[in-house]
Amino acid sequence: MIKSFLQLNTIFISILIESLPFVLIGVFISGIIQMFVTEEMIEKWVPKNKILAVLYATLIGALFPACECGIVPITRRLVAKGVPLYAAIPFMLTGPIINPIVLFSTFIAFGSSLKMVLCRSIFALAVAILIGLLLAVQYKDDQLRKKEVISSSMPKTLKEKWMGTLEHSIDEFFSSGKYLIIGAFVASAMQTYIKTSTLLAIGHGKMSSSLVMMALAFVLSLCSEADAFIASSFQNTFSFGALAAFLVYGPMIDIKNTLMLLQSFKTRFVIVLIAYITIFVFVGSLFI
């Protein structure tokens, strides 16, 4: 018992050592964006045409490096400022997945190979665009829980901005690092105590293995900068498609994300959004 706990701990620490540097890079960039990029800058560029807006927002999301935990408040702020829902949501969905840090960590985690990096990006783009188009048809209003007046007073001097960046980085480290540590612990406990045969029994078929990995992504609530390392530790157990589902589903929706969304958006809308993400990722993973 003690011996197996020590092995659990060793696996747990090794996951943290691998992923913490990426979390550090992530929180720092998130801090820079918080301080130096204004909502107005992004909003000015949203096209009037709905389809164009969806594609454009998806692309912006792809270029925008953010953690899934940091992007929900940003999305809410964008929507409150008048960015249409069908543009803001695809932005929120691709932001945490397609960005240099996440793709680089995916590259490293999957043995310096581009296969999973490409698969993850294309899969995420497709899901985000489809959901954006659906939302454009379905919703006319902003679906926010309540309208709030946001006074985002940005610090003026450059020194203040950099100080704010660092302060935000540390805040972000403590809020997202927590979910990473808990997630790493749960993952290593599963590795140590759950026999592979048990996991295989749940996730044997193509369909059920995708569902198991998606459920896992939801429960573990990993930061997208680090989840590739957890996914690669399941390479022995699950198929490539199921791992891709894990890597796309997790950053789009998970426990901590859902809680944050429920604080900002109407419950009905959050449920509809989760249902869409689940269906698209699941169906998509069957074709990989």
Partner: protein, 281 residues
């Protein structure tokens, strides 16, 4: 102030792992530059946090909504305590608990089976990374075949295979890929003993854990060995074996696998570096 200590703790943890060299018991050293840079980032953040905490204590409370959006102060005390405990736990457990080495217990937990030889198996879920290293997932089908042929050329030339830390995984992968090519070749390698419930008294597996990035993605790799007589070895004893490669139809797994007819063997001390790593060039 607690935040400063936690950041300091992480700085020290990464520093400690690098100076003592213990880091190699957790991750593939190929990626150590990442955790090495983390020392400096953590150190820097510690200083920043220290200044922020000081500033707040001096009453210059941050009045800007954009930088104080995490309403830490609103949380009940027990929630805050639990919050920080999550951060303190890994620092403490990494520094004070001994590092475990993966052994036969984990082999049991991870399950154990031998995959068939066809790489393009109809059942992709049957591919387990046990015994036989399979890196095909990292390469395209064609690229993988090319790579395997290249490695086969290297190993097939040698009349005797002497495996060490550097070529262990590559050699194992090639042997499992082309078992026929290696029949009757002499082989020499180290590993720990693993008795499976399917092996008889003269058979046992000699295995090593291979690591791709960190301990979490490890798999066990090695060969079935057959001794002339019961060697009376226990699980996790390290041995050096010398013998002849051959193939055997292994009933429990319904598959023909390579195995070693042991000629000479002796027990050895567990190596300084129990894991083998694979680089991808």
């Amino acid at each position: 102030m607690l935040r400063t200590y936690i950041l300091l703790g992480f700085t020290f943890l990464f520093f400690h792992l690098h100076t003592t060299g213990d880091i190699s018991k957790y991750i593939n050293m190929r990626y150590s530059y990442l955790s090495f840079s983390a020392i400096f980032i953590f150190a820097f953040l510690t200083i920043v946090q220290f200044r922020i905490a000081n500033r707040k204590e001096n009453g210059h409370h941050c009045h800007d909504e954009t930088c104080c959006h995490h309403h830490e102060e609103d949380q009940p005390k027990w929630k805050k305590a639990l919050n920080y405990f999550v951060f303190i736990f890994p620092i403490a457990s990494a520094l004070f608990l001994p590092i475990a080495t993966l052994d036969s217990e984990i082999v049991k937990a991870k399950g154990f089976r031998i995959p068939g030889f066809e790489t393009e198996s109809a059942d992709p879920f049957g591919q387990r990374q046990f015994l036989r290293p399979d890196t095909s997932i990292y390469y395209g089908k064609e690229g993988y075949k090319d790579l395997m042929r290249k490695e086969l050329a290297v190993f097939a030339k040698q009349s005797r295979l002497v495996l060490n830390d550097n070529n262990y995984l590559k050699a194992m992968e090639t042997i499992y890929q082309f078992p026929g090519q290696f029949s009757d070749k002499e082989i020499e390698f180290d590993g720990f003993v693993y008795h499976d419930k399917t092996t008889n008294s003269q058979q046992l597996f000699v295995l090593r854990f291979g690591i791709i990035h960190c301990v979490a993605d490890s798999g066990v790799f090695g060969l079935l060995t057959e001794f002339p007589e019961n060697p009376h070895l226990k699980n996790d004893e390290w041995i050096h074996v010398k013998g002849k490669l051959s193939t055997i139809y292994f009933q429990p797994f319904n598959v023909t696998i390579p195995y070693v007819q042991v000629k000479e063997w002796h027990t050895i001390k567990a190596p300084e570096e129990p894991y083998v790593f694979r680089g991808y060039d």
